[in-house]
Every structure is written in structure tokens, then in C-alpha cells.
Amino acid sequence: MGEGLLDQVAEAEAELLAAADRRLSRGDDVQAWFDAVIEADQKVEPRDWMPDDYRKGLIRQIAQHAHSEIIGMQPEGNWISRAPTLKRKAILLAKVQDEAGHGLYLYAAAETLGITRAELVDALIEGRQKYSSIFNYPTLTWADVGAIGWLVDGAAIVNQVPLCRCSYGPYARAMIRICKEESFHQRQGYEILHTLSHGTPEQKAMAQDSVDRWWYPSLAMFGPPDTQSTHSAKSMGWKIKRHSNDELRQRFVDMCVPQAEVLGLTLPDPELRWNDERGHHDFTEPDYAELMRVVAGDGPCNAERMAHRRRAHDEGAWVREAAAEFAKKAATRKGEENR
């Protein structure tokens, strides 16, 4: 697992370099130049001219992605102090630290589009920008840490690997970095579930229960079905998005079925079976009405996640003030020495 995906990341990286060598002729028309860059699979860079909607759409998408990484620390952070062994605890700490890092790579990429970090943080805290609905579900047992790694991070990777080819340079580069690190996340989750499902009957039942709860919310991570997706067409034209929601969802299902078999766990879908004609698995769609409810704020943990994020921001205020004061004093001292 993961290796095929890592190959795709390496391919995206090689393509980025190959496309950069293509010579484009440059006229005075900025729109024509922008179109030519996209057409040649080259990257748009921060100081280039770009259509307003391209900039706005990217800020929306990258910000939502960054917020998801930051809020995503909470469900797993919930288990750091209760990890079953010191080894598991160290691994989980490293993973949650990675999520913080991914959030920061993405905030940095968004900032190159002319928005400040403070504006982005405010937009999250005031509820003007969203994060992935998946993090509004609770982590009830230790097995959930495994299910998040396997299913949630697995779905995230399927979504994110194509973003390594995204037309905006800073976003594509951040995604290449993130995908390389995510593959550790998926494997650690898989290993937790494998250990549990080969343990006592109670442990196996706990693993099965968590897969039962996380399967459909993970399928919903790919967003509404193509027929209802609002941002897709434009995004595809600009090569921000490369595959449709339904395509990626199918890819994820096909990937999970053999992995579940090795785990000895069942995916909770009686309709799930191989379709020879299509060359894919048939499966039951997630409940999109539930997805919309959770996105709109009515999931099991929305209020808790936002309250926690606000509290962390408020409780960190003194650190930000102290750092600013320290820097000011240090600068004054330096000024006096140089006099």
C-alpha cells in the first residue's frame, strides 16, 4: 500500500520539471499568457498575472485544506495521553505534529496569493471558511485512531495525489511534500487495525466497530456526486482539480477492498461487490444529505471542534504578545550596542 501512490507523487514531480523546460512565446496579452502556461502544464507562480476567480478559488480551496489539517489534530490528539504503549504514543505525537506542519505548508501557500495568515485564522474562527466534514465525527475508541489513519488519511491521499499536479506552483509543491509524509500516516493506521484484528476477540470487535463507523463518512470526504458538485468544471479547466469526485471515490473503494481482506475486517456495505463489466466495485453511496448537514454545522462534534480551536487561539494570545515584546526588546538592545 502507498507505494503506487508514492510513484504517482514522484511522477508528478518529474512532470513539473519537464514542463518547466517547455519554451512559451510571450505576447502582451496577460490572459493569453496565463492560458498558455496552463495549456503547457507549467506552473502559475505567485507574482504572475492570474484571473481573479482563479486566485479566489485557490485561496478558498487551500485555506479549507489548511484548516482541515489544523482541526484534524483534535480527534487524534484526543488519544495521545491514552495511547496503549509508549511506542504508539510517540508515533501518534509525530503524526499529529505532521498535521500541524501540513497546515502550515498550506497556510504559507495560501499567503502567496495575497491573503494574510491572520485573515485566514480569523475566517476559520469566525466560521466564514470551512474544514473537512470528517473531523466532526468523534474518536470513541483507540481503534478509531487506526481507522482514521487507514480510511481518512487513505481517502485524503487519493484526493491529494492528483493535487501534486495542480497548476498553481506553491500549492503543487506543498502537496508533493504532504503526500510523501501522509503515506506514513496511512500505514501506521493500517498497522493499528491489523494488530487489533489479530488480537483478542474484543480487540477485533473494536476494530470492526470503528471501520463500521468511519467507512461512510470517509466515502463522503470526496464531496457531493458529480451531478451536484458546484466548483468542479472551472477547477478542472484551470487544472487545479484533475479528477471528478465520483472518479476518486471509486478509486478509493477499489483500493480499500483488498486491504480490508488482509485486515480480516468487513466493509459495512452489503451491496459491495466486484463488477466485471465496469472493472470496478459497485458500492452504496454515502448519505449526501448527512454530509450537507455536517458541512452546514450540524455534525456530532462541530461545536466542540470550533470551541476548542477558539480556546487554543485565545490561550495562545499571551505567547504571541510575549514573542512580539521580546523581539522589540532584543532589537532595541542591539540598536544600543551598535551606537
Binding site: R47, D98, Y105, R117, A323, F326, A330
Partner: protein, 90 residues
Amino acid sequence: MTLWEVFIRARRGLSHTHAGSVHADDAETALRNARDVYTRRQEGVSIWVVRASDIAASSPEEKDPFFAPAADKIYRYPTFYEVPEGAPHL
């Protein structure tokens, strides 16, 4: 808080390469933040942080005139020259 651009030397013998940016009030904190954000897996042996506002950048709009002097001097490339047959070590 100040925005700092981060440059990392991945291994000895390579030049520093732009990795991304961090926020910090002073250089020392910026270096620590850059270490935590960009080198969690031994991606670097040396870090530079530079205040983003201190970087002067050429603008893409002036790309053609600004870089034009290099475009018409093909004699700067070794491939411009015809090497007579039989001339060794060239």
C-alpha cells in the same frame, strides 16, 4: 508577526533552496519555527531565514525586456562553435 522566507541546504555540497515561509517576530524564533516545520525528517543541514519584505524580486511582467540580454547571445553556449574534425579534448 513578520513573514520570513525559508531556504534550506538539503545536504552538504548543495545550495540552499526555497522551502516555504514561516511567521515569527525575530530571526531566532523564525529559525526554530523553520526547523520544526520544514526539517522534521532530516531534510536539511543548514537553514537561512530572510524577512520577506527584505527580498527584492524581478517582476514577471518585465520578464522579456529584463532577461532579453541573455536571449540573443547564443555564442555564450559551447554548442555555438563548430569543432574541426580531429581536434581532441574540446
